[in-house]
């Protein structure tokens, strides 16, 4: 059962005290399967429906609404075990603008050898971004250092003409546990999509990223970026696919994975073009820390481990 204390703890962990107190900033804090704090601002409608395992949230940004300050969301599970299912149905109507900063906090999980992760955070989102609208979503995960968390965010995003969508997923503090990202975006004419994932995996963490973008509108643009560091015995599989089917569609897939120790990295960048006036590029770099970078920092006195950590943290910055 989530409590007011949980709310304070989640807000503290996310570092959003100021935003939570600001009457002009909207926020929504969900602990386990309860909405424990929320505030709305004009133009933003949020209807949460609690259920046994989580919360379904219907969000609507009204036609023409420009939400000036980022909306803060906080999802978390302070217990050592449990499941949290978040369903999001988000509609940004035409000529509207909203930015969401989400913190996902799972500080108490601990992976037992050979067992399933005791904490599961499952998210399923359907997002529609109206004509001329802009939606940015930044999601930062804060996990325990002992693994034990399964994170599986899934999103289907549709962009109408001239819409803009930017999402950043970041999990660089604590242990990943297991993560399985599945994002799919369809871009209308003149729309712009950017999807970025930055993840640091260590120990026996497992990372799966599947991001696909369909540039089906003329002059649509899309960039898929992933930055993954894989250390110890961790494993990362990154599957990025960008398809262009319309004239003047432009896209780029950029995947960089750094491995250290016994880590395993696998990248599958796929680009597919079915219109002669479309253009997509891709680059994938997998390997250990670049030797020249390493030795440049070592030539300033850093030992090899410190230099390697600095390079990796820069890549994930």
């Amino acid at each position: 059962m989530a409590t007011a204390t949980d709310s304070l703890e989640l807000i503290r962990s996310a570092g959003i005290h100021a935003a939570a107190k600001d009457p002009d900033t909207a926020h929504l804090v969900i602990g386990l399967n309860k909405v424990i704090s929320s505030r709305l601002v004009p133009g933003l409608e949020v209807e949460p429906e609690e259920n046994e395992e989580g919360v379904n949230i219907h969000i609507r940004v009204a036609d023409g609404a420009r939400i000036a300050k980022p909306v803060h969301m906080c999802f978390g599970l302070l217990q050592e075990a449990g499941i949290q299912r978040i369903g999001i149905d988000l509609t940004v109507e035409d000529d509207a603008k909203i930015g969401i900063v989400a913190h996902c906090i799972f500080p108490s999980a601990e992976q037992q050898p050979g067992g399933e992760p005791p904490v599961k955070h499952l998210m399923d989102a359907t997002i529609r971004i109206g004509a001329g609208s802009e939606y940015t979503y930044f999601e930062r995960h804060i996990h325990s250092s002992k693994g034990g968390v399964l994170v599986a965010p899934k999103a289907r995003v549709e962009l109408a003409d001239h819409a803009r969508f930017k999402t950043d997923f970041e999990l660089v503090e604590g242990r990943v546990g297991k993560i399985d990202i599945d994002y799919e975006t369809v871009c209308g004419p003149y729309s712009v999509m950017e999807m970025t994932a930055k993840i640091s995996a260590r120990a026996d963490d497992v990372v799966k990223i599947r991001e696909t973008g369909l540039l089906s509108g003329e002059h649509s643009r899309g960039v898929l970026t992933s930055r993954v560091a894989v250390r110890d015995q961790a494993r990362a599989d990154v599957y990025n696919k960008l398809t262009a089917t319309a004239a003047y569609a432009r896209g780029h897939v950029d995947c960089q994975e750094i491995i250290a120790g016994g880590g395993i990295a696998n990248a599958v960048p796929i680009v597919e073009v079915s219109h002669p006036k479309a253009h997509i590029t891709h680059e994938a770099t997998l390997g250990s820390v670049d030797n020249k970078q390493l030795e440049t920092l070592m030539a300033r006195g850093l030992d090899e481990d410190a230099a390697s950590d600095l390079i990796i943290s820069g890549l994930l910055a």
Partner: protein, 264 residues
């Protein structure tokens, strides 16, 4: 024509900062450094000049101990201590560093953080000061990443700023003018003067007459060996007159007379 060793009058060792004796190195079966010997004067600016392929950069990398350049034969010591088993970072902590001909890019690493890595004084004031001395506006560069958004010349200046902040005993600068516009060259020269004033010994790796003129002492390098040493004027004249037009640059096997004694 004398392409051989001329013992420079008056160039006597004052203190053994870096001593190299009979240094040889093979890479992929090719002898890049060949029984090379070298001593540096502490607190002085030295230049090694030679045409492409003479082994100048390889010498700097070997002194710094980079991973592909550690299988050398001969002796190298710094401040009287053998460098044979020292890793790059250990050598750096002993007081030496290297400025690359083409500095590395670092995604997500800010200029501010990069400059402070090896700095003796990690204060913001000092970082601002060394950036200015390297010819960079702190307001414009402090927050930027040392990545592909900076040109090669800009990264070169950032690297120089980090070396100024480090104040090492020995600085090796590989082609310090590479990628630097003409207007900025004087800044680089001034920065080298600052390092010297702070007590650093400087070793410039170059084939530029301009950079060579910044030095107090010069070494002529060819085929992996120091062929001559002495005043900048003498080495400069020889390099310009004999080495640049030479048909057999770093290929002594093409000319049997190239043995360090005879004309060719």
């Amino acid at each position: 024509m004398n392409c051989g060793r001329e013992v420079a009058a008056g160039l006597e060792k004052r203190m053994g900062l870096l001593e190299i004796k009979d240094l040889s190195l093979e890479l992929d079966g090719n002898r890049i450094l060949d029984h090379l010997s070298l001593d540096l004067w502490e607190g002085h600016v030295h230049a090694i000049v030679g045409t492409n392929g003479a082994g100048k950069s390889t010498l700097a990398y070997t002194i710094m101990g980079l991973s592909d350049y550690r299988g050398f034969e001969g002796e190298m010591s710094f401040l009287g201590e053998s460098l044979k088993s020292k890793a790059v970072d250990q050598r750096a902590r002993m007081g030496m560093t290297l400025g690359w001909q083409e500095p590395a890019r670092f995604e997500g690493l800010s200029v501010d953080k990069f400059v402070k890595i090896g700095a003796r004084d990690k204060s913001d004031e000092n970082t601002v000061d060394v950036l200015r001395r390297a010819g960079l506006s702190p307001a414009r560069y402090l927050g930027r990443a040392v990545d592909k958004t900076l040109s090669g010349g800009e990264r070169k200046k950032v690297e120089l700023a980090s070396i100024l902040a480090m104040k090492p005993r020995l600085v090796m600068l590989d082609e310090p003018d590479s990628g630097i516009d003409v207007e900025s060259l004087s800044r680089i020269r001034d920065a080298i003067g600052v390092l010297k004033e702070a007590g650093s010994t400087i070793l410039l790796i170059t084939h530029s007459m301009e950079v060579l003129s910044w030095a107090e002492h010069a070494f002529l390098m060819c085929c992996g060996s120091i062929r001559d040493k002495g005043s900048v004027e003498k080495i400069s004249e020889y390099f310009r007159g004999r080495c640049i037009p030479c048909d057999h640059r770093n290929q002594p096997e093409l000319d049997g007379s190239f043995n360090g004694d005879g004309d060719r």
